[in-house]
């Protein structure tokens, strides 16, 4: 059963429709990327989900109930939101102590989560002196206090350095491997693609696509890049199979619209020497651009279009769809 069920969610601010009949699910044990450009309605949707903003229409239920009706919200949902702040003169430990007391969580747990995010050494320092990255870690610690089954993170990579982003990615994978549902918003598609299992793509407040990442990226045809000393011969072989290939350099061919599953057997059958073969394209960016170009909402939910080539088809660095499993 889905942990989060968003149904026909709509939010209007005056004449502006920030969220427009949005529906999607978030499943346990998976990292769901909530993706879209800035201003697509991601933050508004998350804040509605968390009971901070009232929807104009529709609903966002967590475990079947609205956030406001959760008996112990901190034990069910942990959230990291932008623009949620800290009192500058309060220490990290006191900040967590305040939240723990409000939620009825033992103070022992405070030190546990501090260690989990690597802030134990600075726990006694006032948050006012924290860097953006340290604040983000403290936000995560706050979210983890209640050991929740659902984590909702709004642009958590903001302010983190590359090391921090890699740490965050590992943390999210670890949390989802424990069976928790993780919903993480991002406007950085390539970055998100390295972490998520499922994606929900929004544009202009409407759903552009949703489904497992592999299915979505499989729908967009990429290209295969082949480094070979026999470029001219290979070009002829590919042409014989109806595949156009152009030179990238004197020994590198790029076969557009092809997959390694097609090129590989051809190369083997003709005995062409190949030094290197990589597939690219089919990245989340390609998916996103293709979807938004054809108009938002053009391909509804449950996208599993033709040409879904399954995982592995594009497991290549540089192809944005590398899956970290």
């Amino acid at each position: 059963m889905a942990v989060v069920e968003v149904r026909r969610l709509t939010k209007r601010f005056g004449r502006v429709t920030a969220v427009d009949e949005l529906s999607f699910d978030v499943e346990p044990g998976r990292v769901t990327g909530f993706l879209g450009p800035n201003g697509a309605g991601k933050t508004t949707t998350l804040r509605i989900m968390l009971g901070l903003v009232r929807p104009t229409e529709g609903s966002a239920l967590i475990g079947g109930v609205a956030y406001r009706d959760l008996r112990h919200p901190a034990r069910v949902v942990g959230a990291v939101l932008e623009a949620s702040g800290f009192h500058p003169s309060r220490s990290a430990r006191d900040h967590l102590g305040v939240v723990a007391t409000t939620a009825g969580i033992s103070r022992k747990r405070v030190d546990e989560v501090l260690a989990m995010v690597g802030l134990s050494d600075v726990a006694g320092r006032a948050v006012g002196g924290f860097s953006l990255g340290m604040r983000q870690r403290l936000e995560l610690a706050t979210a983890l206090l209640g050991d929740p089954e659902l984590l909702v993170l709004d642009e958590p990579a903001n302010g983190l350095d590359p090391q921090g982003i890699s740490w965050l990615r590992g943390l999210l994978r670890w949390l989802s491997s424990q069976g928790r549902a993780v919903l993480v918003s991002s406007h950085l598609l390539a970055e998100a693609a390295q972490t998520v299992d499922d994606v929900v793509i929004v544009a202009g407040g409407r759903l552009a696509a949703s489904g497992p990442l592999a299915e979505l990226t499989g729908r967009v045809v990429g290209s295969v890049r082949i480094r070979t000393p026999e470029a001219q011969r290979l070009q002829g072989v590919l042409a014989g199979a109806g595949i156009t290939a152009h030179y990238e350099s004197h020994d590198v061919l790029v076969a557009d619209g092809a997959t390694p599953e097609v090129v590989g057997p051809l190369v083997a059958a003709q005995g062409v020497v190949v030094y290197e073969m990589t597939s690219s394209g089919g990245s989340l960016e390609d998916v996103f651009l293709a979807l938004t170009a054809s108009g938002p909402g053009a391909s509804g939910p449950g996208a599993s279009g033709p040409g879904a080539s399954g995982p592995g088809a594009s497991a290549v660095p540089g192809g944005g769809s590398e899956m970290v499993r």
């Binding site: 406001r68 623009a83 800290f86 309060r90 102590g97 305040v98």
Partner: protein
Amino acid sequence: MTRLVRAELLKLRTTKVTWVLLAVGAVTAGLLAALVVVRSSTAAQQAGLPLVGSVAWRRLVLGLSGVTEYFALVAGILCVAGEYRHGTITSTFLVEPRRGRVIAAKLGASGLAGAVFAIAAMVVVISVAAGTSAAERAATGNVVPALPAVAPGLILATALYGVYGAGLGALLRNQVLAVVIALSFSLIGESIVTDLLPQVGKWLPDAAAASFSSSSQAGQIQGSAHMLVWWAGGLVLLAYGISAALVGVMTAVRSDVT
């Protein structure tokens, strides 16, 4: 509910500004007490000041602790508006989405903080009065005997000022605006209204507090005709805090947190 009040008290304790307000309130009370002790023990008795060492004098001096009411008022405002100012209201409402309960806990915690403010101010005033009188070689600067008459009303008034402040904070949400409005009304606006319309003035917060906190009883300056009965004064002050909070919860507090 207890857990929410405990959390609010923890927030107050772990915020530097609470301690600053507590200290400045108590020090101000101490300075006023020193001034009065010095003025009333000089050879020429100042007009309007009761005889040094008299019951009225003791009550007057100890009642000066009441100045901390304004500091409790500000602490109450910050207890609510400060969370909006620093954005911590988001995590507070995430953990307790029933916002009315959060505000109720804040009223309670601000009231308790007010009581502590009053006690701290009285401790300082008692020490200062004793110290200053000794320095002035006055017969007795011991105001402790006035405690039973003064302390209950003063603690209650300061506590209710804390509640009133929290209510204003919930109503206005903007801490600077709330502090400016509350203080300018209490310190200036109210006396203007009272001068022009005494019948209205007695229903205002300061006058309501004065009806049961003893600084006025000792002063005996205000005509008691323009004063509410003590219990009515207490209820009126409490009503200010609760009604401001109620309106706040139904309007400002209920709105989207973005």
